[in-house]
Symmetry: D2
Subunit: 121 residues, 4 copies
Amino acid sequence: MSWTDKETPVSELKERVAAFARERDWEQFHTLKNLSVALAGEAAELMEPFQWLEGDRCKALLQDSAKREAIEDELADVVIYALQFANRGGIDLALAIDRKMAKNALKYPVDLAKGSAEKRG
Amino acid sequence: MSWTDKETPVSELKERVAAFARERDWEQFHTLKNLSVALAGEAAELMEPFQWLEGDRCKALLQDSAKREAIEDELADVVIYALQFANRGGIDLALAIDRKMAKNALKYPVDLAKGSAEKRG
Amino acid sequence: MSWTDKETPVSELKERVAAFARERDWEQFHTLKNLSVALAGEAAELMEPFQWLEGDRCKALLQDSAKREAIEDELADVVIYALQFANRGGIDLALAIDRKMAKNALKYPVDLAKGSAEKRG
Amino acid sequence: MSWTDKETPVSELKERVAAFARERDWEQFHTLKNLSVALAGEAAELMEPFQWLEGDRCKALLQDSAKREAIEDELADVVIYALQFANRGGIDLALAIDRKMAKNALKYPVDLAKGSAEKRG
C-alpha cells in the first residue's frame, strides 16, 4: 500500500498509529492529558528552527534537505499525537475538522476577514 | 460529500484548509514560522482542560457533551494548522508520517520498548 | 512594602506566590507536572498577540495601554508558575539562573556567537 | 556577589540577562515575538521529563541529581527569556506580578476557590 495524502484516508493513519502503541503496550501512558502534553512538546519543536529567523530565511530552511527532513519529522510527530489523541478519545477527526471549519466560516466571513490579521481561531 | 475519517483522504482536508485561507487572503500571514506558532498555541489550548486533573477525571471530561465539543474543536484547530503548514511547505503529510513511523519502529523495537515509559519521540 | 524589580528579591515573590496557593488549598494540584503544563499554557498565551504580526507591528502593541496590560499579565502568569514550580521543587531560582548563564557563556563565547542567529539555548 | 533568591533583586537578574545578549549582539533577534516563541520552547522542554509520568514518579525525578540539574536548567531558561522579554518590553516584572496577583485574588476569593480545581488563571 502506498502512503500519500491523495490515497490515504485519515482512518488508515489513525489505525497505524494505534497499532504502534498497542504493540508496545504504551496505551497505559496514552491518557488524553499525557498525549496533549506530548503533542504540545512536538509543536514547540516544530517552532524551534524558525524562532530567530525572519520570513525569507524561514523559507530557505526547506531548501536544505536535511533541515527539511527534520522539519517534516516534527510535523509528523505533531500529527501522530493528534491522531492518537483522536483514537483514545473516540474522535472522528475529519468530522471534527468539518464542524470546526463551518464555525470558522461563520466567525470570519470572507468579506470582513479578507486580508486582515485580526485575531482568528 | 461526507467528511469522516474513513472516507476522507488527507489531501481533501488539506485542500479545504488551503481554500479557506486563500478566500480570505490570509496566505500572506501564513509563513511557516507563524503557522508553527499558531499550532503551538492551539496545542496549549488542547492541554488546558486537563491541566489540573488526574487520569480518571480527564476521561470524564469527554462524557460532558459541551466539553467534548470544545476539546474536539481544539484538536481540529491543531490539525488545521498542521495541514496548512503542510500546504505552505509542500509537504506530503502521509508520506512524512510513514517515514517517521519507520524511524520510530527502529528506535523503539517492540521487545525493548514494551511497557516502558522511557523517553520516546 | 513596595513591589518593584529594584527592591524585590526573588524570595519575596516566591513566598507571595506560595502563600496564595496555600490559602486556597491548591498545593494538592501543584505537582511539578501540572505546574509545567500550566506554565506552558501561559507561555502560549504570551505568544498569541504576536503570532500574525511582523517586527514593527509587534512593538506597536505595547503602545496601546490595554494591550500592554494584557501582555504584562501574561508575562506575570508565566513567572508566577515558574516561581511556584521553584517553590514546589525546592529550587533556588537565582542560583539556577547563575549556573545556567555560566554554562551559556561557555557554550556561546562572545567572539564566536557575536551577531549570529545560530541555535542557542 | 552571591546569587540566591534571598539576596538577588529581580533587577539584578534582568541586568545580567540583558548584558549577556548585548555582549553577543543578540538584541537584533530579541523581538518580543521571538522571545515569546523561545520562552514557549523552553516551557515545553520543562514539561518533557514529566510527560509520561504520574504524580509519585514526577517527584522522584528530582531525587536524581543529574535529572534535577537538567530540570533546574530548563526552569532557568524559561525565566531567562521572561526576564529578557521584560527588558525588551520595558516591563517591571515585580510590579506586573503584584498587579496580576491582586486580580487573581479578586477572581479566586479564598472562600470560594478553596480546594477546587476549577479553571483558574
